[in-house]
């Protein structure tokens, strides 16, 4: 593709990103256009990103098991067929990066991939080796997003990542946390460092990020990746024992996973959610969350209240 076209498209999208995603907070539910999956702009560049990504924690850590790798390849095929983009992994996830890389190679490097991984070591020097290993495992010359995992040695790694970004060796940089760990420290990093992404736990049950981190991300123009959308599985296990609420039809949801995911990605400050699954049918259900009507602010409040009451 012509670089100037990309540049002008990015400039256009960046201009659009200046306008906040206010449609999500307007009265009445909004709708993804023409059956296409909903995308949101990465604030620092305006690049569009599908709102449903994919996590690899546990689900892609299957080692050399050829049977399991076949299944994960099918899961990824379904992900990209439905317009998926971001795949998030980490060196902490055992063989997940190697399995993702193997599946991507079998799918002939699908278009639309947004590769996101992390650096997870207490040593800054070792971080560089780990990043090189991640690129090799993914089979990519350059990763889209590198994040400091769980704030481990974040000062040292952010220096490294910032230098890599300046040299064009990575497109975006960020910091992650999960389970509500170290939110005050994460907020300080967001306030004082020019990061593109932050990853944190946010779901209909764990809404702590709404108080400080999500407004801060919106204010600072930082994209937000929401991890643990199903609270590690316990949330969906709890709610799926109940029938779908009546308002599920208003936002085109046919199962609970879509309700939970639409709640997350309809928050104006959230850029994408990264549910993990090892089953093709679950992937299809998850990806359907990026289509159809999205809840407005009033319905989001009702959704949270109803789920809390279950």
């Amino acid at each position: 593709m012509d670089r100037s076209c990309v540049s002008s498209r990015r400039a256009f999208l960046a201009a659009l990103a200046v306008v906040p995603l206010s449609f999500l907070t307007l009265p009445g539910n909004s709708r993804a256009e023409d059956g296409q999956p909903l995308v949101k702009s990465i604030p620092s560049t305006g690049e569009p990103l599908p709102v449903i990504g994919m996590g690899t924690w546990i689900t892609f850590n299957v080692g050399d098991d050829p049977v399991a790798r076949d299944v994960r390849t099918d899961v990824l095929r379904a992900f990209f067929a439905a317009g998926g983009g971001m795949i998030d992994s980490s060196p902490m996830y055992g063989t997940a990066e190697a399995v993702v890389g193997s599946c991507l190679a079998r799918l002939d490097r699908p278009k639309g991939l947004f590769s996101a991984t992390k650096v997870w070591t207490s040593s800054t020097a070792e971080g560089l080796e780990q990043i090189a290993a991640s690129e090799r495992l993914w089979g990519l010359p350059r990763l889209d997003l590198l994040q400091v995992h769980n704030l481990v040695n974040w000062k040292g790694h952010l220096e490294t990542l910032s230098a890599m970004k300046a040299d064009g060796k990575v497109r975006y940089i960020g910091v992650t946390t999960s389970h509500g760990r170290r939110h005050p420290e994460l907020a300080r990093i967001m306030e004082t460092h020019p990061i593109d992404f932050v990853q944190l736990t946010y779901n209909i049950e764990d809404r702590e990020a709404e108080a400080r981190l999500l407004p801060l991300a919106a204010e600072r123009g930082i994209a937000v990746i929401a991890n643990r959308p199903f609270q590690g599985g316990s949330l969906i296990d709890r709610v799926k024992r109940h029938p779908l609420p009546g308002w599920a039809r208003e936002i085109d949801c046919t199962d609970w996973s879509q309700i939970l995911l639409k709640f997350i990605v309809s928050h104006p400050a959230v850029t994408c959610a990264i549910p993990a699954t090892s089953q093709v049918d679950h992937m299809v259900e998850n990806m359907a969350s990026a289509r159809g009507a999205m809840p407005d602010a009033a319905l989001r409040r009702r959704m949270a209240a109803d789920v809390a009451a279950l």
Binding site: I58, G63, Y93, G94, G232
Partner: protein, 226 residues
């Protein structure tokens, strides 16, 4: 690394299905190692039950070899790629094998306070359980026979069998040789609990039984009478 910020679940980054498949692939990939391990376990059982004097070293030397094998082959090369603590587990298992080999294999068991009880007591039954019954527990979780965990090649039955063997001897360093098997019972029990494997209490219960048998003479005052 701030290890205290990690929970138990963070240390087990795989599913129950993946864990079970690990043993299936391991047993098939290293066949006939599981059969050889089981044969070594049966040899240990019969020599521990009947041998005395120098021959008593046999079961401990065999078991020591199994600890080194499980540590180096299973933990380091098969388990650690799935979960980074596996490297440390591997080191612990190899260390246990070396300790057993040195303490109970090379050093003759001598003196009235050392050697086996005439009545092997619960130790022999724990050993029999680890060799014959514990592998079958996998069937309760719908695991195929070729994915069952057996003494000598899998960590759990190897650890429990070792506790059984240790109960059958008196030795001043028995406490030292108990640390790693007991720790593994807790680690494995916690892993299986996180994975929602219904038989998860077996390992911690085995550890509790071992400690109970060891401590009972002191609690009941028997040790003062001996």
């Amino acid at each position: 690394m701030d290890l205290l910020s990690y929970s138990l679940v963070d240390l087990i980054p795989f599913s129950r299905e993946t864990y079970f498949r690990l043993f299936e692939r391991y047993n098939i990939g290293l066949w006939p190692a599981p059969i050889i391990g089981l044969a070594m376990g049966l040899t240990a059982l019969f020599t521990a039950r009947r041998a005395g004097g120098r021959m008593l070293r046999t079961p401990f030397l065999l078991t020591a070899v199994c600890w080194v094998w499980v540590g180096w082959v299973f933990q380091v090369h098969w388990y650690a790629p799935l979960s980074w603590p596996g490297i440390y587990f591997g080191i612990g298992f190899v260390l246990q094998g070396v300790l057993m080999g040195v303490v109970l294999g090379w050093r003759p068991l001598s003196g009235s306070r050392e050697g086996t009880d005439r009545d092997p007591g619960p130790g022999i039954w724990i050993l029999v359980f680890a060799l014959a019954l514990q592998p079958l527990l996998g069937l309760l979780s719908d695991r195929p026979w070729y994915g069952l965990e057996v003494f000598g090649s899998a960590p759990d039955p190897t650890a429990i069998a070792t506790l059984g063997l240790l109960l059958m001897i008196h030795h001043p360093l028995r406490w030292l040789l108990s640390i790693i098997p007991l720790a593994w019972c807790l680690i494995s029990g916690a892993t299986l609990w996180v994975l929602s494997v219904p038989t998860w209490p077996v390992m911690p219960l085995a550890a509790a039984l071992y400690l109970g048998v060891v401590v009972w003479p002191w609690v009941s005052g028997r040790s003062r009478l001996e």
